[in-house]
């Protein structure tokens, strides 16, 4: 698989080539067992930010490069030799580590991360397995993992440095710096008296995706006393666009509780 990574101004950042496995050819019970992989709950993200801002702890955002290659496979998985690799005929390759495209790749990565971070006495929260915490005499550490993105916060600044070093030893990490501005598509703005969480760019992209850029603004999200019944109107011929728009609206409820009820009624 080849891809050209571009920067926001359209210039080329780097060329990317990646070997992927044909995950669609895998059979359940033979090539993979479980594929479920936990990600942090959005409530955890908001709670962490709300607590963090009152305690004035430093936030660090990091991401993991080539995330899924870190996963170790429990199952025996074989692939055809990659193009350009010469070996004897009728031979196949056995995978030791996960490849992108494999059904169990996200799960294998989470298991590997869990194993690594627990070596540092971090424990995963009983309510959100992607939220890890550690308490020492120097302070409290909170680490929140969302696939390959993570935010780390603590009142112990030396401890954070050590934690970063530890992570860099085990995985290829990219340090996105101490100021959180963008996480999972959420825009985070810090002020002296607090922080502001919004999805302005996501929302404006949604408005143009729906082709409503030049439309009149509504002051309420729903007409009063509207009840949907299965008899009104007619069935949509093609629900693809509808589903896409509703999916985007569901994601928009992450910072907009005012549309939570209406979005629930149309989803």
């Amino acid at each position: 698989m080849y891809k050209i990574k571009t920067l926001s101004d359209g210039s080329i950042e780097r060329y990317k080539a990646r070997l992927v496995a044909k995950g669609f050819a895998q059979e359940y019970g033979i090539d993979y067992e479980e594929t479920f992989s936990p990600v942090a709950r959005i409530n955890s993200v908001r709670t962490l930010l709300a607590i963090d801002v009152t305690r004035k702890w430093k936030l660090t955002q990091m991401d993991v490069k080539n995330t899924f290659f870190n996963g170790e496979l429990e199952e025996e998985v074989y692939t055809r030799p990659p193009p350009g690799y010469t070996c004897q005929e009728n031979k196949v390759c056995r995978l030791r580590k996960a490849l992108y495209g494999l059904k169990q790749a996200p799960r294998a990565w989470f298991a590997k991360f869990h194993k690594t971070i627990t070596q540092l006495n971090f424990s995963s929260s009983a309510h959100d397995s992607a939220l890890f915490t550690r308490k020492t005499e120097n302070g409290t550490f909170i680490l929140l993992l969302y696939v390959d993105d993570m935010i780390i916060t603590s009142d112990d600044s030396i401890g954070i440095k050590e934690l970063k070093q530890f992570l860099c030893q085990h995985f290829g990490m990219k340090d996105l710096g101490p100021i959180l501005t963008y996480f999972l598509g959420l825009e985070v703005l810090f002020f002296r008296d607090g922080l502001f969480l919004s999805q302005a760019k996501y929302a404006s992209d949604l408005v143009s995706k729906a082709g409503l850029t030049d439309c009149k603004i509504e002051h309420t999200p729903l007409e009063p006393n509207v009840r949907f019944t299965p008899q009104d109107g007619s069935l949509l011929n093609d629900a693809t666009l509808y589903r896409k728009l509703v999916d985007s609206l569901i994601y928009l409820t992450v910072t907009q509780p005012d549309i939570s009820y209406v979005v629930h009624t149309v989803s």
Binding site: N43, R46, T47, A50, I51, V53, T54, H127, R192, D193, G194, L195, F196, L197, S198, A200, A203, S204, L206, V207, A210, L212, C215, I217, E218, H219, T220, P221, L222, E223, V226, R227, F228, T229, P230, D232, G233, S234, L235, L236, A239, Y242, R243, L245, V246, L249, L252, T255, Q256, P257, D258, I259, S260, Y261, V262, V263, H264, T265, V266, S267
Partner: protein, 100 residues
């Protein structure tokens, strides 16, 4: 989502037109907020005329910061508004327990 109709689609477009006016709305978390949990819950008893099920709404604040909320249709038909409120409280409580 399973069988959307033209009426649903019209509602979706209306929500997006509303969004257009609220692009810069968001959540504000204050540095001076106390760390106390407060929760509010409500229900519209038998709000859906076709299946008589009620919808729960709740929101949970940590001090002044809104951290969790949901609007969710109850899975069973409540026979009284008290029963509907009771289910709403139970759902809200389980969310509070989770947050603690």
């Amino acid at each position: 989502m399973t069988s959307p109709r033209t009426t649903h689609y019209a509602a979706v477009l209306r929500i997006i037109r509303y969004i257009k006016g609220t692009l810069f709305y968001g959540l504000h978390y204050s540095t001076t907020s106390p760390l106390i949990l407060r929760a509010y819950s409500d229900v519209d008893w038998a709000g859906d005329p076709s299946d008589r099920r009620s919808t729960t709404g709740f929101c949970i604040f940590l001090g002044d910061s809104l951290i969790s909320w949901r609007s969710k249709k109850q899975t069973l038909v409540a026979h009284s508004s008290t029963e509907a409120e009771y289910h709403a409280l139970a759902d809200t409580t389980s969310e509070i327990l989770w947050l603690r």
